[in-house]
Symmetry: C2
């Protein structure tokens, strides 16, 4: 009974490692087979084709997100800490996030934290459709900003401002200078999250009241 040369586990591990190293674009079935020292076709037997392989990798990410820490004295703090933890993991798994995005399964990433968020919102008295809206607003903020930061950081060469767009007589020199340096996505994320959670801190004004901004 000779041991198999590879297992499905080993295929996923190797694929994840390769992708984390070189990115999704440079990942090929043939390269993976080469790394595992098997024929390409062997991979098809173990895990199926490229799509099945990526499905499996995304499922791994989902599992990881099911065990995120959540700390804090108040419910709002716990929501914020969960959002930060989720974001950190997504940044760490940039390439898996990119895969999920390219496969249009980003909304699946809501699921592992939904129950925890719902529980904290319930503690704040936010329930029903209101809770669904806030929950999704937080998740969209966490995930979409991570998706975008990933692309932005990779293309950081273009992030520096083109000064030619600003006339020299623009009065706010400090602003122009601030825009010249690369975006601090962590700060932007935290600012946005804080804004999203602000209405939850002071009583509970109707979160669906848009203040007439709908334009």
């Amino acid at each position: 009974m000779p041991e198999p040369a590879v297992t499905a586990e080993a295929v996923f591990d190797a694929a994840a490692a390769m992708i984390e190293l070189d990115g999704v674009d440079r990942f090929t079935m043939r390269g993976l087979a080469n790394r595992l020292n098997v024929a390409v076709t062997s991979i098809y037997w173990h895990v199926g084709g490229r799509d099945k392989l990526f499905d499996g990798l995304v499922d791994r990410l989902l599992d990881e997100m099911a065990h995120l820490p959540m700390t804090g004295d108040t419910a709002v703090d716990r929501i914020a800490s969960l959002a930060h933890a989720q974001r950190r993991l997504l940044i760490q798994r940039q390439h898996l996030l990119a895969i999920a995005h390219s496969r249009d399964t980003t909304p699946k990433l809501f699921l592992p934290v939904q129950r925890a968020l719902a529980g904290q919102l319930a503690e704040l008295g936010v329930t029903g459709a209101d809770a669904a809206l806030v929950l999704r607003a937080v998740e969209v903020h966490v995930i979409s900003s991570a998706v975008m930061q990933f692309a932005a950081v990779r293309g950081d060469k273009h992030d520096e401002e083109d000064p030619s767009l600003w006339t020299d007589d623009w009065p706010d020199r400090a602003l122009v200078e601030a825009l010249q340096s690369p975006t601090d996505y962590d700060a932007v994320f935290t600012y946005g999250l804080q804004a999203l959670l602000a209405p939850l801190r002071a009583g509970q004004p109707d979160p669906t009241d848009d203040g007439g901004v709908t334009a």
Copy 2:
């Protein structure tokens, strides 16, 4: 002096139309050449390879964004209306946005609206590094949520909630039901935008004060 069979303009037009119809993934150089009734290699002479072609398409999107409308009685309303207009255009140009994203040039999309936003923020007395932060928070919100919505809507089959994740004894039946229906991304966007702009409405509290949520 025979007229050329194709021009660079015509190539870009045809490419944009094809991509808008079938998506980026199904777009190929050979298919484009076929549609134009020329040899593939002719395209290389006119606009260069795939990368150059996509660069050109993204530049077209940038041009479009330079002429967005901005209306409203107050500066905050004008910022909101600009954000909504930018979002609408990005949704309309979903596939071009996807191209920009895949090429890591999403931050470039900030540029065409930066001056207008800076002007309105200045009217509100928000300047310097604070203005840069708010400006980027708004732009990240607009662009990243559009990037994500695009993927989410394409994969809408997965958007419906898996009820098995909720135990039957979860108390908030209305929430579970709300999560079962597909996400209303417009509502989520408006809610987030309103939250981002709220501190600008009532005086100007320090926007970098995170209320201790940094976790």
